[in-house]
Amino acid sequence: MLTLRNLGKTYANGVRALEGFSLTVAPGEIVAVIGGSGCGKSTLLRLISGLDNASRGSVELDGDVVRQPHPLINLIFQEPRLLPWLTVANNVGFGLAEIEGEDRRQQIELALKKVGLADLAQRWPKELSGGQAQRVAIARALVTQPEVLLLDEPFSALDAFTRADLQDHLLGIWEETRPTLLLVTHDIDEALVLADRVIVMRPWPGRILDEIKVDLPRKRDRASPAFETVKRRLFKALDASLQHS
Protein backbone atom coordinates (compact mmCIF):
# COMPACT_ATOMS: atom_id res chain seq x y z
CA MET A 1 0.00 0.00 0.00
CA LEU A 2 1.31 3.40 -1.04
CA THR A 3 0.48 6.14 1.43
CA LEU A 4 1.15 9.83 0.86
CA ARG A 5 0.70 11.94 3.95
CA ASN A 6 0.25 15.67 3.64
CA LEU A 7 3.02 15.95 1.03
CA GLY A 8 4.36 19.40 0.30
CA LYS A 9 7.27 20.70 -1.73
CA THR A 10 8.70 24.20 -1.82
CA TYR A 11 11.65 24.62 -4.18
CA ALA A 12 14.74 26.62 -3.33
CA ASN A 13 13.47 29.53 -5.44
CA GLY A 14 10.39 29.79 -3.19
CA VAL A 15 7.91 28.18 -5.59
CA ARG A 16 5.33 26.11 -3.70
CA ALA A 17 4.84 23.29 -6.17
CA LEU A 18 2.76 20.99 -3.98
CA GLU A 19 0.77 21.43 -0.78
CA GLY A 20 -1.09 19.08 1.55
CA PHE A 21 -1.28 16.14 -0.83
CA SER A 22 -2.68 13.06 0.91
CA LEU A 23 -3.58 9.88 -0.92
CA THR A 24 -3.71 6.16 -0.29
CA VAL A 25 -3.34 3.79 -3.23
CA ALA A 26 -4.24 0.14 -2.73
CA PRO A 27 -2.02 -2.62 -4.19
CA GLY A 28 -2.90 -3.24 -7.83
CA GLU A 29 -4.94 -0.07 -8.10
CA ILE A 30 -4.56 2.30 -11.07
CA VAL A 31 -4.79 5.98 -10.15
CA ALA A 32 -4.52 8.83 -12.62
CA VAL A 33 -3.56 12.34 -11.55
CA ILE A 34 -4.78 15.01 -13.92
CA GLY A 35 -4.50 18.77 -14.09
CA GLY A 36 -3.01 21.58 -16.11
CA SER A 37 0.60 22.66 -15.99
CA GLY A 38 1.84 24.08 -12.70
CA CYS A 39 -0.24 21.61 -10.69
CA GLY A 40 2.81 19.92 -9.26
CA LYS A 41 2.06 16.63 -11.02
CA SER A 42 5.65 15.93 -11.95
CA THR A 43 6.84 17.13 -8.55
CA LEU A 44 4.51 14.59 -6.98
CA LEU A 45 6.12 11.72 -8.88
CA ARG A 46 9.63 12.98 -8.13
CA LEU A 47 8.80 12.89 -4.42
CA ILE A 48 7.26 9.41 -4.53
CA SER A 49 10.15 8.03 -6.57
CA GLY A 50 12.65 9.49 -4.12
CA LEU A 51 14.43 11.59 -6.76
CA ASP A 52 13.53 14.67 -4.69
CA ASN A 53 12.73 14.96 -1.02
CA ALA A 54 9.48 16.42 0.29
CA SER A 55 9.61 19.68 2.22
CA ARG A 56 6.66 18.52 4.34
CA GLY A 57 4.83 15.22 4.86
CA SER A 58 5.92 11.72 3.93
CA VAL A 59 5.76 8.94 1.37
CA GLU A 60 5.32 5.42 2.71
CA LEU A 61 5.29 2.09 0.93
CA ASP A 62 3.97 -0.76 3.11
CA GLY A 63 5.05 1.21 6.18
CA ASP A 64 8.56 2.01 4.81
CA VAL A 65 9.27 5.73 4.60
CA VAL A 66 10.62 6.54 1.12
CA ARG A 67 13.38 9.16 1.09
CA GLN A 68 15.46 7.89 -1.78
CA PRO A 69 14.83 5.66 -4.80
CA HIS A 70 13.20 2.47 -3.55
CA PRO A 71 13.73 -1.01 -5.04
CA LEU A 72 9.98 -1.60 -5.35
CA ILE A 73 9.14 1.78 -6.91
CA ASN A 74 10.03 2.56 -10.50
CA LEU A 75 9.36 5.62 -12.61
CA ILE A 76 8.71 5.85 -16.33
CA PHE A 77 9.53 9.30 -17.64
CA GLN A 78 7.85 11.38 -20.28
CA GLU A 79 10.79 10.67 -22.60
CA PRO A 80 12.19 7.14 -22.96
CA ARG A 81 15.59 8.17 -21.51
CA LEU A 82 17.28 5.06 -22.86
CA LEU A 83 21.04 4.89 -22.40
CA PRO A 84 22.31 5.41 -25.96
CA TRP A 85 25.47 3.33 -25.42
CA LEU A 86 23.55 0.17 -24.48
CA THR A 87 21.67 -2.11 -26.85
CA VAL A 88 17.93 -2.52 -26.32
CA ALA A 89 18.54 -5.75 -24.39
CA ASN A 90 21.13 -4.15 -22.11
CA ASN A 91 18.90 -1.13 -21.56
CA VAL A 92 16.16 -3.47 -20.39
CA GLY A 93 18.68 -5.28 -18.20
CA PHE A 94 20.04 -2.03 -16.74
CA GLY A 95 18.30 -2.64 -13.40
CA LEU A 96 19.46 -6.27 -13.23
CA ALA A 97 23.06 -5.52 -12.29
CA GLU A 98 23.28 -8.33 -9.75
CA ILE A 99 21.74 -10.97 -12.01
CA GLU A 100 24.01 -12.53 -14.63
CA GLY A 101 24.17 -15.14 -17.35
CA GLU A 102 21.25 -17.19 -18.55
CA ASP A 103 18.92 -15.94 -15.83
CA ARG A 104 19.50 -12.36 -16.88
CA ARG A 105 19.06 -13.15 -20.55
CA GLN A 106 15.74 -14.86 -19.87
CA GLN A 107 14.37 -12.03 -17.75
CA ILE A 108 15.31 -9.50 -20.42
CA GLU A 109 13.73 -11.61 -23.14
CA LEU A 110 10.53 -12.00 -21.12
CA ALA A 111 10.27 -8.26 -20.48
CA LEU A 112 10.88 -7.49 -24.15
CA LYS A 113 8.25 -10.05 -25.18
CA LYS A 114 5.73 -8.38 -22.88
CA VAL A 115 6.13 -5.11 -24.77
CA GLY A 116 6.27 -6.93 -28.12
CA LEU A 117 9.85 -6.04 -29.01
CA ALA A 118 11.69 -9.37 -28.69
CA ASP A 119 13.05 -8.98 -32.25
CA LEU A 120 14.78 -5.70 -31.51
CA ALA A 121 16.94 -6.91 -28.61
CA GLN A 122 20.24 -6.25 -30.37
CA ARG A 123 19.36 -2.83 -31.82
CA TRP A 124 20.76 0.49 -30.64
CA PRO A 125 18.36 3.08 -29.18
CA LYS A 126 19.09 5.40 -32.11
CA GLU A 127 17.47 2.85 -34.43
CA LEU A 128 14.08 2.85 -32.63
CA SER A 129 10.93 4.86 -33.28
CA GLY A 130 9.52 7.00 -30.45
CA GLY A 131 6.87 4.39 -29.60
CA GLN A 132 9.39 1.53 -29.62
CA ALA A 133 11.78 3.47 -27.40
CA GLN A 134 9.04 4.16 -24.86
CA ARG A 135 8.14 0.46 -24.87
CA VAL A 136 11.76 -0.39 -24.11
CA ALA A 137 11.57 2.09 -21.23
CA ILE A 138 8.47 0.26 -19.94
CA ALA A 139 10.27 -3.08 -20.23
CA ARG A 140 13.27 -1.63 -18.36
CA ALA A 141 11.00 -0.55 -15.50
CA LEU A 142 9.10 -3.86 -15.44
CA VAL A 143 12.11 -6.13 -15.37
CA THR A 144 12.84 -5.35 -11.71
CA GLN A 145 9.23 -6.27 -10.84
CA PRO A 146 8.27 -3.07 -9.03
CA GLU A 147 5.30 -3.01 -6.69
CA VAL A 148 4.58 0.59 -7.65
CA LEU A 149 5.04 1.92 -11.16
CA LEU A 150 4.91 5.69 -11.57
CA LEU A 151 4.28 7.08 -15.04
CA ASP A 152 4.95 10.74 -15.83
CA GLU A 153 2.89 11.58 -18.94
CA PRO A 154 4.49 8.52 -20.55
CA PHE A 155 2.65 8.65 -23.87
CA SER A 156 2.27 12.39 -24.34
CA ALA A 157 4.99 12.63 -26.99
CA LEU A 158 3.44 9.92 -29.17
CA ASP A 159 0.86 10.09 -31.94
CA ALA A 160 -2.75 9.08 -31.18
CA PHE A 161 -2.48 5.57 -32.71
CA THR A 162 0.73 4.64 -30.93
CA ARG A 163 -0.63 6.11 -27.72
CA ALA A 164 -3.81 3.98 -27.79
CA ASP A 165 -1.72 0.93 -28.65
CA LEU A 166 0.65 1.50 -25.72
CA GLN A 167 -2.25 2.13 -23.33
CA ASP A 168 -3.64 -1.31 -24.28
CA HIS A 169 -0.19 -2.80 -23.84
CA LEU A 170 0.19 -1.25 -20.43
CA LEU A 171 -3.19 -2.66 -19.31
CA GLY A 172 -2.20 -6.09 -20.63
CA ILE A 173 1.01 -6.00 -18.61
CA TRP A 174 -0.81 -4.70 -15.55
CA GLU A 175 -3.30 -7.59 -15.71
CA GLU A 176 -0.48 -10.13 -15.47
CA THR A 177 1.27 -8.96 -12.32
CA ARG A 178 -1.07 -6.24 -11.00
CA PRO A 179 1.43 -3.62 -9.86
CA THR A 180 0.12 -0.35 -8.47
CA LEU A 181 0.09 2.24 -11.23
CA LEU A 182 0.17 5.95 -10.50
CA LEU A 183 -0.11 7.84 -13.73
CA VAL A 184 0.25 11.55 -14.26
CA THR A 185 -1.38 12.81 -17.43
CA HIS A 186 -3.05 15.77 -19.06
CA ASP A 187 -5.02 13.52 -21.41
CA ILE A 188 -8.59 13.06 -20.12
CA ASP A 189 -9.31 10.02 -22.26
CA GLU A 190 -6.09 8.37 -21.15
CA ALA A 191 -7.01 8.85 -17.50
CA LEU A 192 -10.48 7.42 -18.06
CA VAL A 193 -9.33 4.46 -20.15
CA LEU A 194 -6.75 3.35 -17.60
CA ALA A 195 -7.63 4.44 -14.09
CA ASP A 196 -9.84 3.21 -11.26
CA ARG A 197 -9.74 6.69 -9.78
CA VAL A 198 -8.89 10.07 -11.26
CA ILE A 199 -7.44 12.73 -8.97
CA VAL A 200 -8.08 16.26 -10.24
CA MET A 201 -5.51 18.84 -9.14
CA ARG A 202 -5.52 22.62 -9.05
CA PRO A 203 -2.43 24.77 -9.38
CA TRP A 204 -0.45 27.36 -7.34
CA PRO A 205 0.22 25.60 -5.09
CA GLY A 206 -0.61 22.18 -6.53
CA ARG A 207 -3.16 20.30 -4.43
CA ILE A 208 -6.10 17.92 -4.73
CA LEU A 209 -9.36 19.49 -5.85
CA ASP A 210 -11.54 16.48 -6.55
CA GLU A 211 -11.55 12.73 -6.97
CA ILE A 212 -13.63 10.82 -9.50
CA LYS A 213 -14.19 7.07 -9.42
CA VAL A 214 -14.29 5.26 -12.76
CA ASP A 215 -16.46 2.19 -12.11
CA LEU A 216 -16.33 0.78 -15.63
CA PRO A 217 -15.17 -2.70 -16.58
CA ARG A 218 -11.99 -2.94 -18.66
CA LYS A 219 -11.30 -2.89 -21.52
CA ARG A 220 -13.26 0.34 -21.77
CA ASP A 221 -15.12 1.53 -24.82
CA ARG A 222 -14.43 5.20 -25.34
CA ALA A 223 -17.68 5.61 -27.27
CA SER A 224 -20.02 4.00 -24.71
CA PRO A 225 -22.64 6.18 -22.93
CA ALA A 226 -21.27 5.19 -19.51
CA PHE A 227 -17.80 6.39 -20.54
CA GLU A 228 -19.34 9.64 -21.75
CA THR A 229 -21.09 10.14 -18.41
CA VAL A 230 -17.90 9.80 -16.39
CA LYS A 231 -16.09 12.01 -18.87
CA ARG A 232 -18.68 14.75 -18.39
CA ARG A 233 -18.21 14.59 -14.63
CA LEU A 234 -14.47 14.83 -15.07
CA PHE A 235 -14.84 17.83 -17.39
CA LYS A 236 -16.94 19.58 -14.75
CA ALA A 237 -14.30 18.95 -12.13
CA LEU A 238 -11.60 20.30 -14.47
CA ASP A 239 -13.68 23.42 -15.15
CA ALA A 240 -13.84 23.98 -11.42
CA SER A 241 -10.04 23.49 -11.27
CA LEU A 242 -9.57 26.20 -13.90
CA GLN A 243 -11.89 28.62 -12.06
CA HIS A 244 -9.82 28.15 -8.92
CA SER A 245 -6.62 29.07 -10.70
Partner: protein
Protein backbone atom coordinates in the same frame (compact mmCIF):
# COMPACT_ATOMS: atom_id res chain seq x y z
CA UNK B 1 6.21 -9.79 -67.55
CA UNK B 2 9.15 -9.72 -69.89
CA UNK B 3 8.56 -6.03 -70.39
CA UNK B 4 8.48 -5.44 -66.68
CA UNK B 5 11.66 -7.38 -66.11
CA UNK B 6 13.37 -5.48 -68.84
CA UNK B 7 12.24 -2.19 -67.38
CA UNK B 8 13.53 -3.33 -64.03
CA UNK B 9 16.95 -4.11 -65.44
CA UNK B 10 17.07 -0.83 -67.26
CA UNK B 11 16.23 1.08 -64.12
CA UNK B 12 18.86 -0.79 -62.18
CA UNK B 13 21.53 -0.11 -64.78
CA UNK B 14 20.57 3.53 -64.77
CA UNK B 15 20.80 3.70 -60.99
CA UNK B 16 24.24 2.14 -60.83
CA UNK B 17 25.42 4.45 -63.59
CA UNK B 18 24.15 7.48 -61.70
CA UNK B 19 25.85 6.24 -58.52
CA UNK B 20 29.11 5.90 -60.41
CA UNK B 21 28.56 9.36 -61.83
CA UNK B 22 27.94 10.73 -58.38
CA UNK B 23 31.11 9.14 -57.08
CA UNK B 24 33.11 10.51 -59.99
CA UNK B 25 31.69 14.00 -60.05
CA UNK B 26 31.20 14.27 -56.30
CA UNK B 27 33.92 12.66 -54.24
CA UNK B 28 36.60 12.38 -56.94
CA UNK B 29 36.13 15.88 -58.18
CA UNK B 30 36.52 17.22 -54.67
CA UNK B 31 39.81 15.41 -54.00
CA UNK B 32 41.04 16.27 -57.47
CA UNK B 33 40.26 19.91 -56.86
CA UNK B 34 42.04 19.79 -53.53
CA UNK B 35 45.20 18.28 -55.05
CA UNK B 36 45.52 20.51 -58.13
CA UNK B 37 47.12 23.51 -56.44
CA UNK B 38 49.80 21.71 -54.37
CA UNK B 39 50.69 19.36 -57.26
CA UNK B 40 51.04 22.25 -59.71
CA UNK B 41 53.08 24.16 -57.16
CA UNK B 42 55.48 21.26 -56.60
CA UNK B 43 55.77 20.58 -60.32
CA UNK B 44 56.52 24.22 -61.01
CA UNK B 45 59.21 24.27 -58.36
CA UNK B 46 60.79 21.08 -59.68
CA UNK B 47 60.87 22.48 -63.22
CA UNK B 48 62.02 25.91 -62.10
CA UNK B 49 65.02 24.53 -60.24
CA UNK B 50 65.85 22.01 -62.99
CA UNK B 51 65.74 24.80 -65.59
CA UNK B 52 68.09 26.86 -63.49
CA UNK B 53 65.64 29.75 -62.88
CA UNK B 54 66.23 29.33 -59.14
CA UNK B 55 69.14 27.78 -57.31
CA UNK B 56 66.94 25.79 -54.93
CA UNK B 57 69.60 26.11 -52.28
CA UNK B 58 67.24 27.32 -49.52
CA UNK B 59 64.09 25.86 -51.03
CA UNK B 60 65.03 22.41 -52.39
CA UNK B 61 62.80 20.83 -55.07
CA UNK B 62 60.61 17.84 -54.17
CA UNK B 63 62.99 15.36 -55.77
CA UNK B 64 65.87 16.43 -53.53
CA UNK B 65 63.68 16.29 -50.39
CA UNK B 66 62.52 12.81 -51.33
CA UNK B 67 66.10 11.74 -51.97
CA UNK B 68 67.16 12.99 -48.53
CA UNK B 69 64.21 11.21 -46.97
CA UNK B 70 65.24 8.03 -48.78
CA UNK B 71 68.86 8.31 -47.62
CA UNK B 72 67.77 8.84 -44.01
CA UNK B 73 65.38 5.94 -44.33
CA UNK B 74 67.93 3.56 -45.89
CA UNK B 75 70.60 4.25 -43.31
CA UNK B 76 68.07 3.50 -40.55
CA UNK B 77 68.80 6.94 -39.10
CA UNK B 78 65.22 8.12 -39.69
CA UNK B 79 63.71 5.22 -37.77
CA UNK B 80 66.04 5.97 -34.89
CA UNK B 81 64.86 9.61 -34.80
CA UNK B 82 61.22 8.61 -35.19
CA UNK B 83 61.56 6.07 -32.38
CA UNK B 84 63.11 8.59 -29.98
CA UNK B 85 60.57 11.30 -30.75
CA UNK B 86 57.62 8.91 -30.59
CA UNK B 87 58.82 7.59 -27.24
CA UNK B 88 59.00 11.15 -25.85
CA UNK B 89 55.50 11.92 -27.13
CA UNK B 90 54.24 8.63 -25.78
CA UNK B 91 55.52 9.16 -22.24
CA UNK B 92 54.50 12.81 -22.21
CA UNK B 93 51.06 11.89 -23.56
CA UNK B 94 50.52 9.15 -21.00
CA UNK B 95 51.70 11.35 -18.12
CA UNK B 96 49.64 14.34 -19.28
CA UNK B 97 46.54 12.27 -20.03
CA UNK B 98 46.55 10.38 -16.73
CA UNK B 99 46.98 13.50 -14.58
CA UNK B 100 44.50 15.49 -16.69
CA UNK B 101 41.90 12.73 -16.54
CA UNK B 102 42.17 12.51 -12.76
CA UNK B 103 42.12 16.29 -12.31
CA UNK B 104 39.27 16.71 -14.79
CA UNK B 105 37.22 13.95 -13.20
CA UNK B 106 37.70 15.38 -9.71
CA UNK B 107 36.85 18.96 -10.65
CA UNK B 108 34.00 17.87 -12.93
CA UNK B 109 32.43 15.66 -10.28
CA UNK B 110 32.99 17.52 -7.02
CA UNK B 111 31.78 21.12 -6.82
CA UNK B 112 34.12 21.97 -3.95
CA UNK B 113 37.17 20.67 -5.80
CA UNK B 114 36.13 22.66 -8.84
CA UNK B 115 35.90 25.89 -6.86
CA UNK B 116 39.25 25.19 -5.22
CA UNK B 117 41.37 23.86 -8.08
CA UNK B 118 39.86 24.94 -11.38
CA UNK B 119 40.70 28.68 -11.13
CA UNK B 120 44.39 27.93 -10.48
CA UNK B 121 44.55 25.47 -13.36
CA UNK B 122 42.89 28.01 -15.66
CA UNK B 123 45.51 30.56 -14.61
CA UNK B 124 48.33 28.10 -15.33
CA UNK B 125 46.72 27.31 -18.67
CA UNK B 126 47.06 30.90 -19.81
CA UNK B 127 50.85 30.75 -19.43
CA UNK B 128 52.43 30.14 -22.85
CA UNK B 129 53.75 26.64 -22.36
CA UNK B 130 57.14 27.37 -23.93
CA UNK B 131 57.67 29.77 -21.03
CA UNK B 132 58.11 26.74 -18.81
CA UNK B 133 61.19 25.57 -20.73
CA UNK B 134 63.87 27.42 -18.69
CA UNK B 135 62.29 26.35 -15.40
CA UNK B 136 61.92 22.76 -16.50
CA UNK B 137 65.56 22.64 -17.52
CA UNK B 138 66.54 23.95 -14.09
CA UNK B 139 64.25 21.50 -12.33
CA UNK B 140 64.58 18.37 -14.44
CA UNK B 141 67.90 18.84 -16.24
CA UNK B 142 68.60 18.99 -19.93
CA UNK B 143 67.83 15.35 -20.72
CA UNK B 144 64.62 13.33 -21.10
CA UNK B 145 62.74 14.34 -17.93
CA UNK B 146 62.38 18.00 -18.89
CA UNK B 147 61.25 17.08 -22.42
CA UNK B 148 58.63 14.63 -21.22
CA UNK B 149 57.44 17.18 -18.64
CA UNK B 150 56.98 19.87 -21.29
CA UNK B 151 55.02 17.51 -23.56
CA UNK B 152 52.91 16.41 -20.59
CA UNK B 153 52.04 20.06 -19.87
CA UNK B 154 50.98 20.50 -23.48
CA UNK B 155 48.80 17.40 -23.39
CA UNK B 156 47.37 18.16 -19.93
CA UNK B 157 45.23 21.21 -20.64
CA UNK B 158 43.09 20.12 -23.59
CA UNK B 159 42.44 16.76 -21.93
CA UNK B 160 41.65 18.41 -18.58
CA UNK B 161 39.23 20.88 -20.16
CA UNK B 162 37.60 18.12 -22.21
CA UNK B 163 37.07 15.79 -19.25
CA UNK B 164 35.77 18.33 -16.73
CA UNK B 165 33.58 20.00 -19.35
CA UNK B 166 32.14 16.68 -20.50
CA UNK B 167 31.31 15.63 -16.94
CA UNK B 168 29.60 18.96 -16.25
CA UNK B 169 27.44 18.57 -19.35
CA UNK B 170 26.24 15.00 -18.72
CA UNK B 171 22.46 15.01 -19.18
CA UNK B 172 20.65 15.23 -15.82
CA UNK B 173 17.86 13.10 -17.29
CA UNK B 174 20.18 10.17 -17.92
CA UNK B 175 21.67 10.46 -14.44
CA UNK B 176 18.15 10.33 -12.99
CA UNK B 177 17.60 7.00 -14.72
CA UNK B 178 20.67 5.72 -12.89
CA UNK B 179 19.32 7.07 -9.60
CA UNK B 180 15.89 5.45 -10.12
CA UNK B 181 17.75 2.13 -10.35
CA UNK B 182 19.48 3.11 -7.10
CA UNK B 183 22.95 3.59 -8.52
CA UNK B 184 25.11 5.97 -6.57
CA UNK B 185 28.73 6.90 -6.05
CA UNK B 186 31.19 4.89 -8.07
CA UNK B 187 28.57 2.63 -9.66
CA UNK B 188 26.76 5.66 -11.04
CA UNK B 189 30.06 7.00 -12.35
CA UNK B 190 31.04 3.70 -13.94
CA UNK B 191 27.69 2.79 -15.48
CA UNK B 192 26.33 6.21 -16.45
CA UNK B 193 28.87 9.04 -16.30
CA UNK B 194 31.84 7.27 -17.91
CA UNK B 195 30.01 6.02 -21.01
CA UNK B 196 28.26 9.39 -21.32
CA UNK B 197 31.52 11.36 -21.40
CA UNK B 198 33.44 8.88 -23.56
CA UNK B 199 32.80 10.53 -26.97
CA UNK B 200 33.97 13.90 -25.66
CA UNK B 201 36.92 12.18 -23.99
CA UNK B 202 38.10 10.73 -27.30
CA UNK B 203 38.04 14.21 -28.85
CA UNK B 204 39.97 15.57 -25.87
CA UNK B 205 42.57 12.80 -26.29
CA UNK B 206 42.92 13.64 -29.96
CA UNK B 207 43.57 17.30 -29.34
CA UNK B 208 45.92 16.31 -26.53
CA UNK B 209 47.86 14.03 -28.84
CA UNK B 210 48.04 16.76 -31.48
CA UNK B 211 49.51 19.15 -28.94
CA UNK B 212 51.91 16.42 -27.82
CA UNK B 213 53.38 16.36 -31.33
CA UNK B 214 53.64 20.14 -31.32
CA UNK B 215 55.37 20.25 -27.97
CA UNK B 216 57.87 17.54 -28.77
CA UNK B 217 59.41 19.90 -31.32
CA UNK B 218 59.73 22.64 -28.72
CA UNK B 219 61.18 20.09 -26.31
CA UNK B 220 63.73 18.87 -28.82
CA UNK B 221 64.69 22.43 -29.70
CA UNK B 222 65.92 22.90 -26.15
CA UNK B 223 68.83 20.60 -26.75
CA UNK B 224 68.63 17.11 -28.15
CA UNK B 225 71.09 14.93 -30.00
CA UNK B 226 68.42 12.68 -31.45
CA UNK B 227 64.82 12.92 -32.60
CA UNK B 228 62.94 14.61 -35.41
CA UNK B 229 63.23 17.99 -33.69
CA UNK B 230 67.00 17.52 -33.63
CA UNK B 231 66.88 16.91 -37.41
CA UNK B 232 65.19 20.30 -37.75
CA UNK B 233 67.76 22.14 -35.63
CA UNK B 234 70.64 20.27 -37.24
CA UNK B 235 69.26 21.09 -40.69
CA UNK B 236 69.11 24.74 -39.79
CA UNK B 237 72.62 24.91 -38.30
CA UNK B 238 74.27 23.01 -41.14
CA UNK B 239 72.19 24.67 -43.85
CA UNK B 240 70.36 21.53 -44.98
CA UNK B 241 66.81 22.67 -45.88
CA UNK B 242 66.11 19.31 -47.51
CA UNK B 243 66.66 17.61 -44.15
CA UNK B 244 64.32 20.10 -42.46
CA UNK B 245 61.62 19.37 -45.00
CA UNK B 246 62.13 15.62 -44.70
CA UNK B 247 61.62 15.95 -40.94
CA UNK B 248 58.51 18.09 -41.44
CA UNK B 249 57.00 15.50 -43.79
CA UNK B 250 57.78 12.76 -41.29
CA UNK B 251 56.04 14.75 -38.56
CA UNK B 252 52.96 15.13 -40.75
CA UNK B 253 52.85 11.41 -41.49
CA UNK B 254 53.32 10.06 -37.97
CA UNK B 255 51.03 12.71 -36.51
CA UNK B 256 48.28 11.61 -38.86
CA UNK B 257 49.03 7.92 -38.30
CA UNK B 258 48.88 8.15 -34.50
CA UNK B 259 45.65 10.15 -34.69
CA UNK B 260 44.13 7.51 -36.97
CA UNK B 261 45.28 4.78 -34.58
CA UNK B 262 43.55 6.58 -31.72
CA UNK B 263 40.34 6.86 -33.74
CA UNK B 264 40.53 3.21 -34.80
CA UNK B 265 41.14 2.06 -31.23
CA UNK B 266 38.14 3.94 -29.86
CA UNK B 267 35.70 3.55 -32.77
CA UNK B 268 34.37 0.12 -31.68
CA UNK B 269 33.15 1.68 -28.44
CA UNK B 270 31.32 4.49 -30.20
CA UNK B 271 29.11 2.66 -32.70
CA UNK B 272 26.08 3.64 -30.61
CA UNK B 273 26.50 7.34 -31.34
CA UNK B 274 23.60 8.96 -33.11
CA UNK B 275 25.53 11.66 -34.92
CA UNK B 276 24.67 13.93 -37.75
CA UNK B 277 27.61 12.51 -39.71
CA UNK B 278 29.77 9.59 -38.74
CA UNK B 279 33.44 9.96 -39.41
CA UNK B 280 34.68 7.57 -42.08
Amino acid sequence: MADLAETGIKTEAKTSRSVAAWVFYGATRQTTAAIIVPVLGLLFWEVAVAAGWFSGRLMPPPSRVLATLWTLLKSGELFNHIGITTARVFFGFVLGTVTATIAGAVTGYFGLARRLIDPSLQALRSIPSIAWVPLFILWFGIFEASKVALIAVGVFFPVYLGVSGAILSVDRKIVEVGRIFRLSGFTLVRRVMMPAVFPAYVIALRSGLGLGWMFVVAAEFMGASEGLGYLLVDGQQLGKPDQIMAAIITFAIIGKVTDSLLIAATAPFLTWQDSYRREG
